[in-house]
Amino acid sequence: MEAAAGGGCGSGPPLLLSEGEQQCYSELFARCAGAAGGGPGCGPPEAARAAPGAATAAAGPVADLFRASQLPAETLHQITELCGAKRVGYFGPTQFYVALKLIAAAQSGLPVRIESIKCELPLPRFMMSKTDGEIRFGNPAELLGTKMQIPYLITEKNTFKRMDDEDKQQETQSPTMSPLASPPSSPPHYQRVPLSHGYSKLRSSTEQMHPAPYDARQPLVQPEGASTGGPGAKPPRHQTSLIRSFSVEREPQDNNSNYPDEPWRITEEQREYYVNQFRSLQPDPSSFISGSVAKNFFTKSKLSIPELSYIWELSDADCDGALTLPEFCAAFHLIVARKNGYPLPEGLPPTLQPEYLQAAFPKPKWECALFDSYSESMPANQQPRDLNRMELSIKDMADFPVPIQDVTGDDKQALKNTVDEVLPKDMSEDPATPKDSNSLKARPRSRSYSSTSIEEAMKRGEDPPTPPPRPQKTHSRASSLDLNKVFQPSVPATKSGLLPPPPALPPRPCPSQPEQASEAELHPQLNRAPSQAAESSPTKKDLPYSQPPSKPIRRKFRPENQATENQEPSTTVGGPASVAAAKPHPTVQKQSSKQKKAIQTAIRKNKEANAVLARLNSELQQQLKEVHQERIALENQLEQLRPVTVL
């Protein structure tokens, strides 16, 4: 397979081409040469190389092809120089193949040098409208490839199919467009739904195992396929699959094209949904979900424990027993994919790596900011279809108690609200307490205070009449008054949707589900305190209800705050009476939001204190055990000695 070095290129490097490369290059060469009307080197590459003078690719098509590779012009100049075309003045097969290899190398991030092409490289990728040639080869082999073991590998071969449909998208930002891009076979199908409806036939042939809804979705989302960077997404995939080391370079390009062309890529709506679920478990998006909380949550998906265990292993990148937001999204995504029938990957796909997820999607701020950031990256025409997909994908996640019918197409807020409203009902059983990273890393599985049914019932049952008296408390806490501004602009519905999750956090009064022994120790203490406070303020339900628990906790663990603590109950007792006269409901909401923030900060402080004390506790207990043992040993000795002396 070595090119005749003597050919047109004087010092041309020996080219080692694989089968696929040979086919690809010869096709491309044929096209370029054919366009010029010359005899193309469509025969065996050796023959073509053997007679370099007989076949040359015209400069025009070749230049077009090179430009389609979307490499910078300077790189292309380098490539043309290196391959020798400039020297010999034409693009013979040798030069052409060398140039193609160099383009592949450049797209992989390798420097443009002769040495680069000596190693195994993926095929170069071009954004071109005429991709019929590429479509022919590679496709059948991969389409028949049954279950996709590695989604991105297959997408590499199949990606060109999509190209055909989206040839209009040549202006896509992503430089790594592969003419070989094609619609996915089975697994990628899940996320490629929005793309290339035109390939539904092909896809259906390979995707018999797919649930029907996916195919039904295709017409819905097909126009989206025409939108930006559809093809853009997969070329990076196959590169990363083949050459993992270049994945880092690929990632920034991937961010430009948020297309769900692979099962391992998280779409916008999915991302939002995961973030919402995360928030239902853990209101602070920058904190963790503890292992036990996540375990209960994921167990609801009804996957087998070994599979869940493996998914956890894949997604918990730092192996700390807790999930940050990107890790949680990756885990959730893997679960969803697995439920939809995709085999689990051997390693965490690059699109699910935490760094990638954090780079691709900014940390979610509050809802408005969240949507704004997403809408920047997502073309508008995608959104309705994305929501449709989200709706359908939610249907598939039926094991998670999520309302499907409530999803309306266009209003993201509504979507969030419905998700939010439903979530507390089901997820509130396992609220995760916010953690500070440093203090609680040592105890990843600590604390899930269960709020649950009692609190929910009380909240819903007694909402209006008792205006929460706590606003003074929040002021005295020096928590930012901007909370009001944060919450007021948001839709009241959203606010009400937000209300449920926070109260789930400090459910100290009813630890009906103590998860760990350590918590069992703490809970009795917490129980005593909250019950006292609860008795003192029987009329206060709703948010006030959540307030008393946190105060007693502080009393127990933060002696320095005792003074303020003791003052607050008195103020709060006086508060409700006066505030009761005021408008109940809006006041409730404002105060509840303020209180929520205050509660959360208080909870975090409490968590820290808890962790410290728990550690201290365990150490002391260990010492106690040892001392006990020594004491027993000494007593035994004493008894042995006593009879001797008595004698």
Partner: protein, 139 residues
């Protein structure tokens, strides 16, 4: 390069045991089992001292003609036992220590998985791959 690696729970039943497949695995299982006595002996020898003072790496438990057995105990009384080919003289104590450290760290990662119940057999793929990297390659 270990010939056999075993993780024994506190109650002295195996959580994970894996040996080079070509040999008679039962022989290795027996060796690991008998080595538990030596481990217990070494632990109890330091029993009176505080746990903190006890070093995790126990060193060579006992040598046989063909093999050497090394032990390592964690603070939660989980034991790692490693059987090494005697003919592999290039293997130094430090290397054994580092192998145990890797084992311990992988075991910790397994424990961090909330879906793993302590006391279950270890079925983590990451753990498997780490052990494979440590096992001798007998072709």
């Amino acid at each position: 390069m270990a010939v056999c690696v075993a993780v024994i729970a506190k109650e002295n039943y195996p959580l994970y045991i894996r040996s080079v497949p070509t040999e008679n695995e039962l022989k290795f299982h027996y060796m690991v089992h008998t080595s538990l006595d030596v481990v217990d002996e070494k632990i109890s020898a330091m029993g009176k001292a505080l746990v903190d003072q006890r070093e995790l790496y126990l060193g060579l438990l006992y040598p046989t003609e063909d093999y050497k057995v090394y032990g390592y105990v964690t603070n939660s009384r989980v034991k790692f036992v490693m059987v090494v080919d005697s003919s592999n003289t290039a293997l130094r104590d430090n290397e054994i220590r580092s192998m145990f450290r890797k084992l311990h760290s992988s075991y910790t990662d397994v424990m961090c998985n909330p879906f793993y119940n302590p006391g279950d057999r270890i079925q983590s793929r990451a753990f498997d791959s780490m052990v494979t990297s440590m096992m001798i390659q007998v072709c």
